[in-house]
């Protein structure tokens, strides 16, 4: 028999289901990954090989590209979301008639399959027959010029990863906008009334009232989209599969390739590297943002 708690009516046992699932399927694997990243591993048996996996991983030629792409992708996609969504949310918080329509349309891509979006956009971005390049060609023809248009997903430089990042913004800007809208709705009306009595224009109100007071929402958007960008895999995999060659590989796609080749130890080492990269970038960033918030 359980003693009836007089002091705490809040049952600690409410923690258990989440705690058990979390420990077994998240915490233990994370701890194990630190060990298995140091082994040659077939999932049945392992052989301890020290830091060989990390050495091998860092000596791979495509790793440098993967690192660079992961960071570029995360910075570009989250940066654009943070900025676009801010202006969109400000626009949609106004009393214009079209806001209901735009809000629903903007939000819809977040509900749609990432793989479907990836396939559709890779068709639109097709360098020869794609709608985007055909449009560019015909617009150029109007001005009497001929161009092939950019090779969105097949360019040998940075363009493929940037193109995918743009599609990620297309898909994810709706959620970011909603977070901002919620933040803006929480700003007391008094500030706007007071500032308009003092003669502030809507533009001034946006920069001097809205932006400073919407900061907590902005920080949520920054952290959520940056973390999502660093970890993202499915859109890249659907659009280019990391190609052409390794041009658009990110850490997550490199890890998947190692995994399908049966290099489980190596893939786990890659996972640990991603883990370290994310922690090193995100925890200081969130601490910095929180500090700023307190100063405010």
């Amino acid at each position: 028999m359980k003693k009836k708690g007089i002091k705490s009516p809040y049952a600690s046992s409410l923690f258990w289901p989440a705690g058990i699932i979390y420990i077994i399927l998240f915490f233990i694997p994370t701890v194990l990954s630190l060990f298995f990243s140091l082994t040659r591993w077939t999932l049945q048996e392992w052989e301890f090989i020290g830091i060989e996996n990390f050495k091998l991983y860092f000596s791979e030629e495509n790793l440098r590209i993967g690192f660079r792409n992961t960071i570029i992708y995360a910075v570009v996609s989250s940066g654009l979301k943070v900025i676009f969504a801010l202006y969109l949310a400000n626009f949609l918080s106004s009393k214009l008639r079209s806001t209901g329509f735009i809000r629903s349309v903007l939000f819809f891509p977040t509900l749609v399959s990432t793989i479907g979006v990836g396939i559709t956009f890779s068709m639109l971005m097709n360098p020869y027959e794609g709608v985007i390049n055909n449009t560019i060609k015909s617009v150029a023809a109007v001005f009497g010029k001929t161009t092939d248009g950019p090779g969105w997903l097949v360019d040998p430089n940075l363009l493929p990863i940037l193109s995918i990042a743009i599609v990620d913004v297309w898909k994810g800007v709706g959620i970011a906008t909603l977070i901002y809208i919620a933040g803006m709705a929480a700003i007391p009306r008094d500030y706007y009334e007071a500032s308009s009595i003092d003669g502030a224009s809507p533009r001034q109100q946006f920069y001097k009232v809205t932006i400073p007071l919407v900061r907590p929402a902005m920080f949520s958007v920054i952290i959520l989209s940056f973390v999502g960008g660093l970890r993202s895999f499915d859109l890249i995999w659907a659009m280019t599969g990391g190609g052409p060659g390794f041009i658009s590989d990110v850490l997550a796609s490199i890890n998947y390739k190692q995994y399908t080749s049966g290099y489980y130890g190596l893939s786990t080492a890659g996972n640990v590297i991603l883990f370290v990269l994310v922690s090193v970038l995100v925890f200081p960033l969130s601490r910095y943002l929180n500090k700023k918030e307190v100063v405010m």
Partner: protein
């Protein structure tokens, strides 16, 4: 003063019409045209769809094409529809139940467990899961390549975000409500499930929608934890059909459209709910 305000109003009205037109125009070009492209090309014949342009189909073959996709490969798409539904429904159900109760005790109990739980939630939001070791653990539990195991994974990976939102929302529910119930002898699990949980309806809907979209559209996790043809979810089937239909774009687009139909229906029926629910439950810093 009044005059000036009136003049200002008519000026802003004039301006607002332009803002409306530009806003709607851009929205259509950027957000609706890709869907239009998808629909017209899904409705075309094979050779027509190969040109990948925006022109309307000569003959609408939309339902014919979707029927072809669904019946293809021994009705494989139907099998994966079933898998996707089972996975989504059970994962969301358990996720909502479990994360709500955790959010509740985390907010109300101020002890060391709460502090640790808080810290774990924040780290789990950030760090990527260790994939291959998770497969190893699932194998030991005989849950690898099973829908049950996949459901457990989706719950585990969704917990942090859901708990965070629940906990913030529970902060807005006055403690007096708990106290009144406690005085009447309602404590522990009863207190949560009979008194608090019914009050969480708006945020439960929000989390339910976000999680449903996330899990239904999840590609990466089933790719690792639920391999095998008979286990495939709709996303897996779609990805496999990229190479199967590499010469039949109309069928590939039809498959995308078939998959998109489910969120689209949900969206049409619950649009108001979704958007207002999203704002009601979103994060406060």
């Amino acid at each position: 003063m009044f005059k000036r305000e009136k003049a200002l109003k008519s000026k802003t009205k004039y301006r607002s019409i332009w803002a409306d037109i530009i806003g709607v125009g851009l929205t259509i070009i950027i957000f609706i045209l890709p869907f239009y492209f998808l629909v017209v090309n899904a409705a075309k014949g094979t050779s027509e769809s190969f040109r990948l342009n925006m022109s309307p189909p000569k003959k609408w073959l939309l339902f014919h094409n979707i029927g072809k996709v669904v019946s293809d490969h021994d009705w494989h798409v139907l099998r994966s529809t079933y898998n996707s539904f089972i996975l989504t429904v059970f994962s969301v159900f358990f996720l909502v139940i479990i994360s709500g109760m955790t959010g509740f005790v985390m907010h109300r109990k101020r002890n060391r467990t709460s502090t640790v739980a808080n810290w774990l939630v924040l780290t789990a939001l950030v760090i990527p899961p260790a994939i291959v070791p998770t497969i190893w653990v699932l194998q030991r539990l005989h849950l690898y390549k099973t829908l049950a195991g996949m459901i457990a994974i989706e719950v585990a990976y969704g917990l942090a975000f859901a708990i965070l939102i629940f906990r913030n929302f529970i902060g807005t529910i006055p403690k007096e409500i708990d106290e009144a119930a406690i005085v009447d002898g309602c404590t522990g699990w009863n207190l949560y499930f009979r008194i608090i949980f019914p009050l969480l309806k708006p945020v439960t809907i929000t989390i339910g929608i976000i999680a449903t979209a996330g899990i239904f559209n999840d590609f990466t996790n089933p790719l690792y934890y639920l391999p095998g043809d008979e286990n495939a979810t709709l996303q897996q089937t779609l990805f496999a059909y990229v190479s199967r239909y590499s010469t039949q774009y109309n069928l590939l687009f039809s498959d995308i459209l078939y998959i998109t139909a489910f969120p689209l229906l949900a969206f049409i029926f619950f649009n108001k709910r979704i958007v207002s629910g999203m704002t009601a439950g979103s994060i406060k810093g």
